[in-house]
Amino acid sequence: MNLEIILFIVLALVAVVSSVAMITRPHPVISAVFLILNFFALSGLYLLLNAQFIAVVQVIVYAGAIMVLFLFVLMLLNTNKEDNIFKQNKALKIFAIAIAVLIFAQVAFLIFFSSPSDALNSQVAESVQSGTIQQIGTKLYTDYILPFEAAGFLLLAATIGALVLSKKKFE
């Protein structure tokens, strides 16, 4: 058992436990903190997959920017906690969990019986090469320049939209 597998098991356990804890804690702020923990575990998994750039962006953008936005809104709205998540409307909750289990079973069935890793024969060197910021930057600024510009425009539109929506009064 080498270090890589141990790291994978630890990070996967953290990701699983924090995601389950996130949906079962009644207090929204604690949910947000568990989601941040989940993002950090995912960032570690990206590093195991040789995706350095995505791992760093995950921490900066998700755990940094987006979750701070969530926590700010939680602070502003001061919502009370949701007691008895599972008590009220029990039939609906059981139905929801059944649907989620069904989705998981379906995807797991597909993954096990198609065994996608048989179809690929990858080299370690290629994989290490593909995750560097140089490779991603080259792709982003040559082949994918148009989607990149569109993403920038989307962010501008979202900023203006958020400003308009959170104005005091609609005219």
Binding site: E4, S19, N50, Y62, F70, I99, S130, L155, A158, S166
Partner: protein, 102 residues
């Protein structure tokens, strides 16, 4: 590529996606529902990065970059909508936000 099979990452990602679905369906706080959507987006990102890494092809990671952009835009607009609703209804409980319900 590594000593860990691709399937492990895919199963982890599928599990996180189902947890996100459960969260969207059982939680009543609109902000927590939003956080569950972020969890689902992240599980999709994990799949993309795993395939990209195992194929040795950077395009999957470029796509993850775009997914993160869309997630950031979605969070900004969605939270602004939640604030606007809270201003009118003084609540973010999605059972009480039913003005479009016939």
């Amino acid at each position: 590529m590594t000593s860990i099979p691709l399937e492990y990452y895919l199963i982890l990602s599928a599990f996180m996606f189902s947890v996100g679905v459960t969260g969207v369906l059982i939680r009543r706080n609109a902000i927590v529902v939003f956080m569950c959507i972020e969890l689902m987006l992240n599980s999709a990102n994990l799949t993309l990065v795993a395939f990209s890494s195992f194929l040795g092809n950077p395009i999957g990671q470029v796509f993850v970059f775009f997914v993160m952009t869309v997630a950031a835009a979605e969070a900004a607009v969605g939270l602004a909508i939640i604030i606007a609703i809270f201003r009118n209804k003084l609540s973010v409980n999605i059972d009480e936000i039913n003005i479009f319900k016939w």
